[in-house]
């Protein structure tokens, strides 16, 4: 498994009308690595992540997940819905707005896919869902509805929901951006422990500290292109790159000054 790539993108283009958001992205996501996508707002990082889940349909280029084309094949034929769903099964997603289903409890949210997609018996689904809630430290909140949970707790339930389907790769779309600062820590800790367990993760984030300490692979996007890419230590050791320097300087007051030496 380790020699095949988790996700590959070749020449991926995304347009909204006349606005080209992604201008030909080539990127490899390796198994067992944490890849962080950083960049100024409007650089296309969330769009890129959503393309990896086929929540946005790329206009050109090829995306492969675990070797299989996602959404369109190499000849740009649209793949059938069942094939899209099959390839997507490799991927879990965690959203900025959590997107927990408000009419289900925390346990219900995590168990839903197990029941409806994997068709597990109720009891088995609940046991497995409970195990995942325990992993994110929320076993005692299983019967709570999302509206009764804090933002940080909701996001941890959302992580448990994604993990319950046993994905090979988890995509995080600014997972802490809608949280109060004092709640980001609990979510980042869960993500860090996932990374320690060797989960393949792609994280769009503004948490430069997290990117610097947890990511093996750092991608700096600017104006819809990969401006800089490499091992996290190497990328942050190159603050001479004018756009990266400019970007990081906006984070000086958020404690990123250490990175600039």
């Amino acid at each position: 498994m380790s020699d095949t790539l988790a996700i590959t993108l070749r020449g991926v283009v995304k347009r909204y009308g006349s606005n080209t958001v992604l201008r030909g992205i080539d990127l490899d996501i390796r198994h067992g690595e944490v890849t962080c996508l950083i960049g100024p707002s409007g650089s296309g990082k969330s769009t890129l992540l959503r393309c990896m889940a086929f929540l946005e349909e790329h206009d050109a280029g090829l995306i492969r997940v675990a070797g299989d084309p996602l959404g369109f094949d190499a000849a740009r034929n649209r793949l059938p819905q069942t094939e899209i769903a099959r390839v997507r099964r490799n991927i879990g997603m965690v959203f900025q707005q959590f997107n927990l289903w408000p009419h289900m409890t925390a346990l219900g949210n995590v168990a839903e896919g197990l029941r409806q997609v994997l068709r597990l018996p109720k009891r088995q689904a609940q046991e497995r869902a409970m195990a995942h809630l325990t992993r994110v430290g929320l076993a005692d909140r299983a019967s709570y509805y999302p509206s009764q949970l804090s933002g940080g707790q909701q996001q941890r339930v959302a992580i448990a929901r994604a993990l319950a389907m046993d994905p090979k790769i988890v995509l995080f779309d600014e997972p802490t951006s809608s949280l109060d600062p004092e709640l980001t820590g609990e979510v980042l800790n869960v993500m860090r422990s996932l990374a320690d367990d060797g989960m393949t993760m792609v994280v769009v984030t503004h948490e430069i500290g997290f990117a610097a300490h947890v990511a093996q692979h750092l991608v700096f996007l600017d104006e819809g292109q990969v401006a800089l890419e490499g091992r996290a230590g190497d990328v942050f050791a190159q603050p001479w790159h004018p756009r990266l320097r400019q970007f990081l300087e906006t984070y000086l007051d958020r404690g990123a000054s250490v990175l600039l030496g």
Binding site: I91, F95, L100, P102, H103, Y145, A162
Partner: protein, 213 residues
Amino acid sequence: MTWELVVLLGWGAVMTAALSIVSITVGLAIGVLICAASLSRVAPLKWFGRVYVSFFRGVPLLVLLLLIYHVLPQLGLDVPGVVAALIGLTLCTSAYQAETLRGGFVNVAPGLMEAGRMVGLNARQILLRIRAPIALRLTLPALVNEAIMILKASSLVSVVGVGDLTRTAQNLASSTFLPLEMFAVAGAYYLLLNIVVGYGGSGLGRLLGLRPA
């Protein structure tokens, strides 16, 4: 004012309740279909839904009732006033309920459906397990409101000769020369019925496991 009169008015209230219950439930069923048509990607269906809603929402219920009452005999359908009243109330409320439901459906946050796609739910499961229950949760208060509106608007059916609560009160008022008492009791009956509807609505919400946001 005797208990006898209160009981007579009570029978009028039963008629009002029956008309309202039938038109609300049948109207909801039609409303679901019209809502589905309005949200459909098939242009003629969408068009039909839109026209249906704007027609039955745009024509005053009083005019609609008189229209149905006079049109049906012309078509050779000699129906009693009760049937004309039921048709009018049902068509009217179905348009409002269709529009309320449509509003609920389009207001379900897209991210909630995306989350469904990402755990692997298919389109049907996303509709039945996520979109519809959340839309219902968003619209239940408005649907209860609509039930109360129809219950009160049903007083208009007296124009097609149906002996509902208002009509009974009018008749008794002129035969007993006690208009104040009759309309006061009729008002109390309407109030009572609507309190029941209100409580019924919250009970239904709990039964369906709907929670405030």
